[in-house]
Symmetry: C2
Subunit: 348 residues, 2 copies
């Protein structure tokens, strides 16, 4: 991590800019690995497929998942001098899988845009989006198997199937307006957190870390992932459309039960709960009633308590890092800590 | 293969009933392995996901791909006494992957039925079909990695990405009405043959076969797969709707260039080629002109020559089996030969 400057520069910083600077060299190498992979595939793949992959992969993504693999690898003593593993090549599998799920999600949601550009399904059609997702899916499994062996493949595939399972649970929970907090956490654990946990765990595994270290970093990732999703769901209510680039109120309009609403439903007095239920039961009420719903959720501290839950998750994530507190890896530690703080403070 | 009766019973037989009897015990064990896997997953997966998987996997499929893995495994000396591999558990990965592609294909084609039942996308919706496909995709990779190691995973993933690539080539070739035969073969090799080749190759690999035997069985599968697709495309023109359960003329109506039409376009005199081009260029003409197109294709022996090409492929497939001609594996040999003959003679 020689290009990253002194640790002091970003220790304690939680602003996006400081984090961005700190991770820039690794992000660049992850992007290079992906570019090199697509270039190597060029001879064997249809020109259109290669174009779709380029379009979908290089869309301004922050590369958080592969970055976590790289950081956890180094945190556990993996490094270019010590290991045969090309960690960037392995790590990019997480970006491939992540993008594959985005391609498919955007088909499912009939999304028009992704990061301010036409989504793959819009730019190239649904067929291309489904197939390119399948391609990245298979390619990611191959990269993980090659770079990390069967044990890494096992972790990776299980995180992938858990992701699908989380989506199915979410389908199942739809229009269950009395959803328990525990059900919400089961969904976000599968849908979001498991892959982030796997990114961390596999970084540790291929560095040769012991089981305790693998577990600690997996837990770091799981908690980080849960916090990330809670904040994401919170921004769907409270986000500033100008910074997020996304409109607010989508989840409520769709009748999707996320943490602020679940908390409010649980805590509300009968009359207010009835009112929320009444609104949720009708698509028209949901469409017109966002402001009123926000007021009701706020009345029962739904937003505050959801953010508090995310903060607890981040505290748990950070606690996992204590045992790695060594001078040799203080830069990696600093970035993992910054990432955790950033997830909590992000506004987009 | 003790349950299969004497070899003499089916040597030379090419009728579907004889083949069905011969493969029934292995097919039953493949189905059992899939049932057991879904049952084991039950605790960890959403009830709806499990239901969708059941519905999509147990739909009367012939299990040809996993069967090939099992047969090639035994042909190369793999057997329950000699090997730790649970070959059925590995083999079913090919059915998982195959079904995953069917789920996604049916979403892409907005298919209404599959094997006479509502397709998964109709019975459970597009979201469920896309996600369940992704689940099977990941699960298949895991089963191959576990059962066959990294080398098997490599073969499997490359066949999967080749399949996507074949679909993209097909997209690219759409409305190229002067498609060369070579381009057609590139598409069907990727789209259909590579996975069948991989099923055979991996069976050989995990049995511990040498490189030559792996290659021979891979080639058997590739040729079998190409012949299968040629006949499939032929049945789209000449099939009996009552036996196939599929309407004819779909490919022509969509302007899809398959072998009979390509052959005819290549051999037709100017006037007839112009006429075909004229029809192909207009959706309306394609819709109304199927009978005329059939007559033109027949005039230039498009159907006869396509079938001849499939027969050549089957001959090449069979030639690969010569080196395995040993008494100990004559039942496996017989089934592989019957399968090859059956592909050529099938009418549904």
């Amino acid at each position: 991590m020689k290009d990253m400057g002194a640790t002091g520069q970003f220790a304690g910083a939680v602003d996006g800019a400081g984090l961005k600077t700190a991770i820039a060299p690794d992000v660049a190498r992850i992007d290079q690995a992906m570019q090199a992979d697509l270039a190597a595939l060029k001879g064997d793949t249809a020109a259109l497929l290669n174009e779709v992959l380029h379009y979908g992969l290089f869309n301004g993504g922050k590369r958080i998942r592969p970055l976590l693999t790289v950081l956890c690898f180094r945190l556990c003593g993996g490094g270019e001098g010590k290991s045969q593993v090309d960690i960037y090549r392995l790590a990019m599998a997480f970006e491939y899988l992540h993008c594959a799920t985005l391609f498919h999600d955007d088909v499912i949601d009939q999304a028009l845009t992704r990061r301010g550009r036409p989504a793959v399904n819009v730019a190239y059609g649904e067929t291309a989006a489904i197939l390119a997702g399948d391609f990245l899916h298979a390619r990611s499994m191959l990269l993980v198997g090659r770079g990390g062996g069967i044990q890494a493949l096992e972790i990776f595939c299980k995180a992938t199937t858990a992701m699908v399972d989380g989506e199915f649970l979410q389908l199942h929970n739809a229009s269950n307006y009395n959803l328990a907090e525990a059900d919400y956490f089961t969904v976000i654990m599968g849908k979001t957190a498991r892959l982030i946990g796997a990114a961390c765990e596999i970084g540790a595994l291929v560095a040769g870390a012991d089981a305790a270290a693998q577990q600690a970093l997996r837990n770091y990732g799981l908690h980080l992932g849960c916090a990330f999703q809670i904040i994401d769901d919170l921004l769907d209510y409270l986000g500033d459309e100008a910074s997020t680039g996304k409109s607010v109120g989508n989840d409520f309009q769709e009748g999707k039960m996320t943490l602020p609403l679940i908390v409010a439903m649980t805590r509300a007095e009968d009359q207010d709960r009835e009112r929320l239920l009444f609104m949720l039961a009708s698509a028209e009420e949901r469409k017109g009633g966002f402001a009123e719903a926000c007021a009701l959720i706020a009345r029962y501290d739904g937003f505050v308590l959801a953010r508090q839950k995310a903060a607890e998750m981040i505290a748990s994530a950070l606690a996992q890092l204590h045992s790695f507190d060594q001078a040799a890896v203080e830069q990696e530690m600093a970035v993992l800590e910054m990432l955790a703080h950033y997830v909590l403070s992000r506004n987009k």
